[in-house]
Amino acid sequence: MVGVAAETIKAEVRKLDGRVPESVVKEVESLLLKVSKKKAITHEQLQRVLDATVKSYLASLVEPGEAVGTIAAQSIGEPGTQMTLRTFHYAGVAELNVTLGLPRLIEILDTRRTPSAALMTVYLERPYAENKEKARALAQEIEMTTVEDVISQMEMDLINMQLVLSLNRSRLRQKELTPSKVAEIVSSELGSKTKVVLDETKLRIKTEGGSLSELRRLATKVRKIRLRGIKDVTKVVVKREGNEYVIYTEGSNLAGVFRIPGVDKRRTTTNNIREIEEVLGIEAARNAIISEMMETLKEQGLEVDIRHIMLVADIMTANGEVRQIGRHGVSGEKASVLARAAFEITLKHLLDACLKGEEDKLEGVVENIITGNPIPLGTGAVRLAMQGGNIGRE
């Protein structure tokens, strides 16, 4: 017996389009094609597979009214008790610290401006990705070098009221800098009010004011002057990953690395969600929230369905900007006065609501619990046009 042709399978499977998700259609097609090579598939069998697929998909749909929010919150919150509190070393890159477990999860939900351990994974384009030396050189370019990094000593000369910096030659060479270059950057950074004199490897910096406290202030300022590299990127590590070289950085500045030629802008990423929002936009931020949370949970060996995490990411990004899960974000912007008051800062919410003459329409969960009504979720979401008192009466 000869089975149906590959063309027929393709045509028939395409009829599933719109009835089941794209991914399922593709899977059915590829699997059937694979099977048909080894075994003849009859028309009837093909039809049965397609029918069963649709049936199975329809059977797996969520029910209307399902309290998907609460389930998502519980699915993420409940395993929280099983997570570690410690910060461990990054898997693979022992040189970099990374926040993991519960603290990281909380950090993501808080959408902190700067995560406690900001980290970038910088992928490289063609010639750099394959050549270790070129990757190294690029890493050098990214790593932030400050004055502090290239001096062996900084003295405060109180007699002449000046700072004397001893430049370390070998470190300068390592960072591909020259004393004159350093002097140039420092003097342009400090402006015309300070005089910078280079004397072999000694850098003398004199300021106009000349008080001791001013000298101290100057010293701290000089230390932090950036000589090269990208702001905030404090450490770089080049690692071979598969068949390419990847740069890991401590400290994050996505916009900064994107400006460097040779950096693969499509794959390079950071764990700072706010930064992704600013540089790549809200959709990217949503994806970053999902992947960061999934990774955090997976690393802890906890299995959580991605749909729950998507929902959290979606509510955090639903109105176009990343909002925190908490009183300064989603919870603080609830429609209901009672819901806000029942969460945190009870009084302020009540007092403000009075002044603004707000109205609570009682459409959420907490409000209805407070007023003693059924909640508008699940079976409570169903409204029937029938009065209980009339049952059984003529």
Partner: protein
């Protein structure tokens, strides 16, 4: 009592003085509460028009008794106005943004109109007022009347200054009165509210029901904190009025006014910074209005979003392997108190009559009868015989809880929905709630004194909902990851392993015994072995009797050592499980078969193919079977399971000694400055990392050496390897070497200067000095090791405590942010405002609980079923 009407919405606003007078039933003028006879004084704070709380009294306003009277408000006319402390900030904003003379906003008409237009029709119009406030720059001349403006300063808690002059509440009120409503709206005050209402001239007095007095056993009345505060207010108010009347010196009037302000302020909130809190005579700080609402135990979180309920019980829980998965053992004592409202019908009237006759003291009885006209009869006192006779359809009987009733069972913390499930009642002797062991992981319950709660749904609707949606069987699949979370625990795994492993042969009597204990009545299959005229059955055959026909599955058991090349059916450990048509052909059943929170391959397949009822029944049987098997085949573990022969001990000792030397070497290299630093690490860090590496390695090595003597013949090893309880790490720590103790992921280092304990030289970096425990638990730890171990152990305890608090708060925030979301009929996910959060739930509309390993459809399974088995590549 009037039936409560459904609340449609709640409007928040401020009350005008006239509003207050209108809703007030009486003006309160005297600070005295009760007369000598203990009767409430008229126009006092306990005036009977404000409602009643004492039994026997009737409310003078509504005529009802204490049960039905909701209470009624009164009011106090203040002799002089005072500011409402909670509104000082809006008052300040209003004062400095409006003209001191004409009261208009300090913006040109043009700008103001622009803002007004922006506000027009905006739902959250107040967001504009923030901008308005910012743009009301420090104008020194009113754009409307040209009056020169003075700078207004606000001094906490409630003093306003204009230049050097203090603005009295009267002045403030006068100014606020001058602000036109259009202008105050621009500044964030609702158009229906007059700004001057934030300066109080009349004070609302809450009903007595809000501040009931308590009569102590001694007969002394103790008043509520609010009443105390109100007494203070009335007293000072009176004195102030008298002094004004008598034309007392300005200074005295000012002082009293200030005092009145203080009392009214602390009446609203007793936690104002810069204001000494008002105290009770005993020195206790009073709990006034704000404090009543705030915080975890406040009105909102403590009484409104979480309420106390009737028809509930709480007791210690204990296990009962004879109970079914979905049952809960309820002590008879509890069943006699908890009742179910049952409507008498023609179908159950005889049954109900019997319950009524038996009354409250005999178990399946009843406690109350309610006649159709709403009259309640207490069966403790009523003539039960008479009542039973008169019973007819339409009556309601509150009958005792009995077998088969649906109840909700709960253990806190209720972290997920499986923390509250519906069980069927089994009334039994004893004083604890009993539960099947399989549900322990869901509730996270153990029996070291855990208590659980039980709730009895009263209406038929609630009972059905509980049964259909919350029953234990319906929770076998976790909504978190879509796999089974109910399963066997501990001995359930050991027992079934002993039964299904190779070489377990059972005589006919044994086989029957096991099956009958499991509750299987089917006849035995053909014996596997006939030896010496006697028939024998394998354990696998017995186990197969519980599997549904047609079940097919192949997977690797937990005991699989992860051999590089799997021998499949020929696996010498029998770790390759093959089930064909409901027959266990190869492999042993262990944690990967049906353990809760493990891989659960067998259960997973069963739930998907046969549904929850079949799986629940399987669990009921298999747990009983495995316990019976463990009992029959014998299983015991004791401390000598961790015995290892002296030669092995020596070899472990050797390995440890080698490692010690290696550590010393490393330290020496480090001291000589020859250590090669790891990239990005300091020398010291590198040394630590290298030492930790060596010590971790040697612990593993010691474990490995010991493991050679810990085979599957060892009961403790059986438990660890099958995943029933404990791990090989636990065992080797007992048998061979405990290993490095750590705090914050590093070797121990804190304590004395340069050393952890004074037994070592300062700066000693050796293994022993920094918390390496080379003894095993079985040998016992040396005192120093014991101390180190305690250090490491303490971190674990602190960690757990901190983590529970942190994750608890995280979950509260998550729940609050997400709880209003639901799936609509169009497949979108929306919040309470109706705003769309997702266009299609989870991007494919699939319920994680119904998904197959996260995927909407298990295509390969369908193909395999319809087209047949396809060879794996």
């Amino acid at each position: 009592m009037r039936p409560p009407r459904a609340i449609e919405s709640i409007h928040f606003t401020l009350l005008s003085p006239d509003d207050i007078r209108r809703i007030s039933v009486t003006r309160i003028v005297t600070a005295d509460t009760y007369d000598e006879d203990g009767f409430p004084i008229e126009r006092g704070l306990m005036d009977r028009r404000l409602g009643v709380v004492d039994p026997g009294l009737r409310c003078k306003t509504c005529g009802s008794g204490p049960r039905d009277c909701p209470g009624h408000f009164g009011h106090i006319e203040l002799a002089r106005p005072v500011v409402h402390v909670n509104y000082v900030e809006p008052i300040f904003d209003l004062l400095r943004s409006t003209c001191r003379k004409c009261g208009r906003i300090l913006l040109s008409e043009e700008v103001a109109t622009k803002f007004r237009e922006e506000m027009e029709g905006k739902k959250s119009w107040w967001e504009v007022s923030d901008k308005v406030l910012q743009s009301v720059s420090k104008v020194d001349k009113c754009p409307h009347c040209g009056e020169k403006q003075l700078e207004i300063k606000f001094e906490k808690p409630f003093t306003f200054l204009e230049g050097k002059n203090r603005l009295t509440p009267q002045d403030i009120r006068a100014r606020l009165e001058r602000i036109p409503t259009e202008d105050s709206t621009l500044l964030g005050v609702s158009p229906e509210i007059r700004p001057e209402w934030m300066v109080l001239t009349v004070l609302l007095v809450p009903p007595v029901t809000v501040r009931p007095s308590i009569t102590l056993e001694t007969g002394v009345r103790s008043e509520d904190d609010l009443t105390h505060k109100l007494v203070d207010i009335i007293r000072i108010n009176q004195r102030l009025a008298e002094n004004i009347e008598a034309g007392a010196p300005h200074l005295i009037v000012e002082d009293l006014w200030e005092l009145l302000q203080y009392h009214v302020a602390t009446y609203f909130s007793n936690e104002i910074s810069g204001v000494p809190p008002a105290r009770h005579r005993s020195g206790r700080v009073l709990r006034t209005l704000s404090q009543r609402l705030k915080g975890k135990e406040g009105r909102f979180r403590g009484n409104l979003s979480g309420k106390r309920v009737d028809f509930s019980a709480r007791a210690v829980v204990s296990p009962d392997p004879c109970l079914k998965l979905d049952e809960v053992g309820v002590p008879e004592q509890v069943a006699r108190v908890l009742t179910v409202r049952t409507r008498v019908t023609s179908f159950n009237i005889e049954e109900m009559r019997e319950y009524v006759r038996r009354g409250p003291k005999v178990h399946p009885g009843a406690n109350w009868v309610i006649s159709p006209d709403g009259k309640r009869y207490d069966l403790r006192y009523a003539d039960r015989e008479e009542l039973a006779k008169n019973l007819e359809p339409g009556y309601v009987v509150e009958r005792h809880l009995q077998n088969g009733d649906v109840v909700l069972f709960n253990r806190q913390p209720s972290l997920h929905r499986m923390s509250i499930m519906a069980h069927k009642v089994r009334v039994m002797p004893g004083r604890t709630f009993r539960l099947n062991l399989c549900v322990c992981p869901l509730y996270n319950a153990d029996f070291d004194g855990d208590e659980m709660n039980l709730h009895v749904p009263q209406s038929e609707e609630a009972q059905v909902e509980a049964k259909v949606l919350m029953a234990v069987q319906n929770q076998i699949i976790s909504p978190r990851f879509g796999g089974p979370i109910i399963g066997g625990v501990q001995d359930h795994i050991t027992g079934v392993y002993l039964l299904t492993r190779r070489g377990t042969l059972l005589t006919k009597e044994q086989a029957h015994q096991l099956l009958i204990e499991a509750g299987v009545t089917a006849s035995l299959p053909q014996p596997a072995v006939v030896r010496g005229g006697k028939e024998y059955w394998t354990g696998k055959q017995i186990f197969s009797q519980l599997l549904p026909k047609g079940l097919n599955i192949t997977y690797r058991a937990k005991i699989c050592a992860g051999c590089s090349k799997c021998m499949k059916e020929e696996c010498e450990k029998d770790a390759y499980v093959v089930v064909r048509d409901g027959e266990l052909i190869h492999g042993v059943i262990d944690a990967h078969g049906y353990k809760a929170l493990d891989k659960c391959e067998l259960l997973d397949e069963m739930v998907r193919e046969y549904g929850e009822e079949v799986t629940a029944e399987f669990l009921n049987k298999v747990t009983r079977l495995s316990i019976a098997a463990a009992r029959m085949l014998g299983f015991t573990t004791s401390i000598d399971d961790e015995d290892i022969p002296p030669i092995t001990k020596e070899r472990i000792e050797e390995a440890l000694e080698k490692a010690r030397k290696r550590v010393e070497q490393l330290i020496e290299i480090y001291n000589r400055g020859e250590l090669e630093p790891l990239p990005g690490r300091s020398l010291r860090e590198t040394l630590e990392m290298r030492i930790m590496e060596v010590l971790a390695e040697v612990r593993d090595k010691a474990g490995e050496i010991a493991e050679k003597h810990l085979s599957l013949a060892n009961p403790a090893v059986i438990m660890a390897r099958t995943g029933a309880r404990g791990s090989m790490l636990n065992l080797t720590q007992m048998a061979a070497c405990v290993g490095q103790q750590s705090v914050r992921g590093e070797r121990l280092s804190r304590g004395y200067v340069g050393r952890v304990l004074p037994h070592f030289k300062p700066g000693d970096l050796g293994a022993e000095a920094r918390g390496f425990v080379s003894s095993s638990y079985k040998e016992g730890l040396r005192p120093i090791e014991f101390f180190f171990h305690a250090m490491g152990g303490r971190e674990g305890l602190v960690d757990t405590a901190v983590r529970t608090a942190q994750s608890g708060y995280m979950q509260r925030r998550l729940i609050n942010a997400l709880q209003d979301l639901r799936v609509e009929y169009d497949g979108t996910v929306r919040d309470d405002r109706g705003r769309i959060v997702q266009f299609l739930y989870g991007e494919d509309g699939v319920d994680p609980m119904r998904a197959d390993n996260g995927k909407p459809v298990n295509v390969s399974k369908i193909v395999r079923k319809i087209i047949g088995v396809v060879e794996e590549d």
